[in-house]
Amino acid sequence: MTAAPSNHIARITVRTAPEPVVVDELITETADRLFGELCTHEAVQAAEDIGGAPEIWQAFCETGFDLIAVPENAGGSGGTLAEAIEVLRLVGYHSAPIPAAENGILGGWLLAEAGLERPDGLVTVIPPRATEGGWSGGGTCSVSLNGDGTAVLSGEAHRVPWARSAEAIVCVCECNGTSMVVSVPASECTITPLPNMAGEPRDTVNFDGATGQAAPAPTGVEAGALAQRGALSRVALMAGAIEKMCQLTVSYTNERVQFGRPVARFQAVQQHLVWAAQDAALVRMAAEVAAREATRGDAPFEIAAAKLVANQAAARATKACHQAHGAMGMTQEYPLHHFSRRLWSWRKEYGSDAHWSAVLGEMATGVGADGLYPLITSGTAALG
């Protein structure tokens, strides 16, 4: 018993401090100002009604944020993954109804890594499907390769963000034992528009023999890696949305007077506010740590933990914020629902609570009892 603690301490290797990951403040300021001006309550509502926000997307593209973290030599805007994640946090904070993640760090990343040509218009991506053993890249569609570098897709893909507005639909899938990145012109596909809970496009795409370009995916660009990036993108969006939802709730409960005082003065209401504030802080921290580690290299532990934390926090925080708002929060004319409905949808994308719980459980049991504490303190680095 007495020897055990020293053994544990001996196992923790002291690493040299890694390079700090810094996000340029100008990015935060610019994105915040842009969305603050464009993503009014009315504009977000209108985007839901028509299934898109072309003007907001156009203005977003003019800043170059649409291709942030995509290398300049692949037609991107350059910048780090951490900077792209910061932009996504602000997309969530302002409920900007645009496919920023799909076009940039997901679809844009796949095209750049595989060296495939990027179309002029919007790029979206088929979300990988969680399976028993990991992730299946093409959803429920299948691919066959022609000899000339083209590929033919058949079957359907479900819940493809903004497919109806896309120029190209990109996926990564296994083909004859090789991981391939495939890009298909949307014009070759039949697209059935469907909304998610927040009225954001999550369309069904029927390929039925659509032909596109294909290239082998380099190492580290498999379906599982795309799923991790996708999960990280949702954590960033959720961090922003929870933070804004929390701020709305604090403001409203300080203005709303019942029994002769603002309802925020009642302890029962304060408890809701504190739950929401804790969750906002928790998810923001999880998002920043995961983004930092993913910028440095692989971060499967941090991303799994962050998505699980975000999913659970979303459930608690939406409950607390709606309850504190009372009936006002249930109306379409008040903006709370823009955030709560997005959170309910995003928590279901790129891995449910159960999925990421199982992933973390496997990591924890894999490192064994002696490895658990280093895993908690050092994260992915402790996986070896």
Partner: protein, 405 residues
Amino acid sequence: MSDLASKPAALTADNIRAALDGLLERRTDQTRLTSMGAGSDDLDDGRAYLAATVDGGWHVPTWPSAHGGRDASVAENQLIGSVLREYVVPDLYPFAIGLGMVGPALLAHGTAEQQSRWLRPIASGAEIWCQMFSEPEAGSDLANVALSAAQDGEVWRLGGQKTWTSRAMWSKWAICLARTDPEQPKHKGLTMFVIAMDAPGVDVRPLRQMNNDAHFSEVFVDGAVVPDAWRVGDVGEGWRVAMTILSHERAGAGSRGGGDGAKRGSRIPTWIADLAALGALDDQVRRDEAMSIYAADMASRWTTQRAADEARSGGSPGPAGSGAKLRTVSSYKRRAYLANRAAGAAGMLEDGHGYIETVTAPSMSIRGGTDEIQRNILGERVLGLPGEPRLDRDVPWRDSRKGML
């Protein structure tokens, strides 16, 4: 007497079934109905059901037989309720204010003339009611209502604004809480009236909810005229009438009609059968949650039954209604989230399993009095705990408002 012939002394499940079989369809395991009107604007199914059952007094058995009931005892009412669960009883959300709240309030506080005019059309589904209670400045703090009623000879003239008035756009009548004496403390200067929704000076503007329903409205009242004969209870007694109505609303949150059910003899509720069909109950964590909800539902049903046994026939449910509402809301929310989680990623879509319940769920712990208000009622009236300090309780309402603004 013919009265005895139409109402045998020994009412049994079998003779209730014999009467209902000619009127209603039996439930099957496939029966799926909406709950609390979420996602539906249907009035016809409920109206047809009420029209079919009113002559036998089957839906409101404890009401007088002259007014659409059958003078049933508490025990008979429970027996009828349990047999009704074997039949397709549509979601009666559009009719719920009249059946569950205004009816009992008129029986407790209304005149014979009022009962004769209004009760039977409620029981038959011919006339829909709403309750004009909440206002922009009077939600949880309901006693702060400002809509005024001023007497003018044989009539009252009403003016002000209500909000969150559910079912207003379907309603022929409203029961309306109004301030008749602003010089009295806030709970004491209130009076209850019935107002015709098609009267000049009544303007209904629906509000759209985040689940896309537009079942709630703002109601603007400008000089609407109400005869004194439509006043319910004495002048200044409005709060007492309102409390009768609200305790029925809370107790009625889980009353008969709508939702899922199982045919007679099946022990598995359809919501559990649906989860099993999705494969969701293969997962230990979800199975655990489903069984936890089921156990809580059973305990809630027996608690409600015990409270009903103890209550006088037709009496006000009192604070027990608050407990019933808390339990019903908790169950609805847990079922909604479980169903939506069980749907996996497809549950994010608007046509996904559990979608309408998920986007409706947050309202359940708000409408009809928030969970916080229900717990206050239980704390103060059941446990006898000290209440929140209320500085405005004994000052004239007019002065308490000055302080607030």
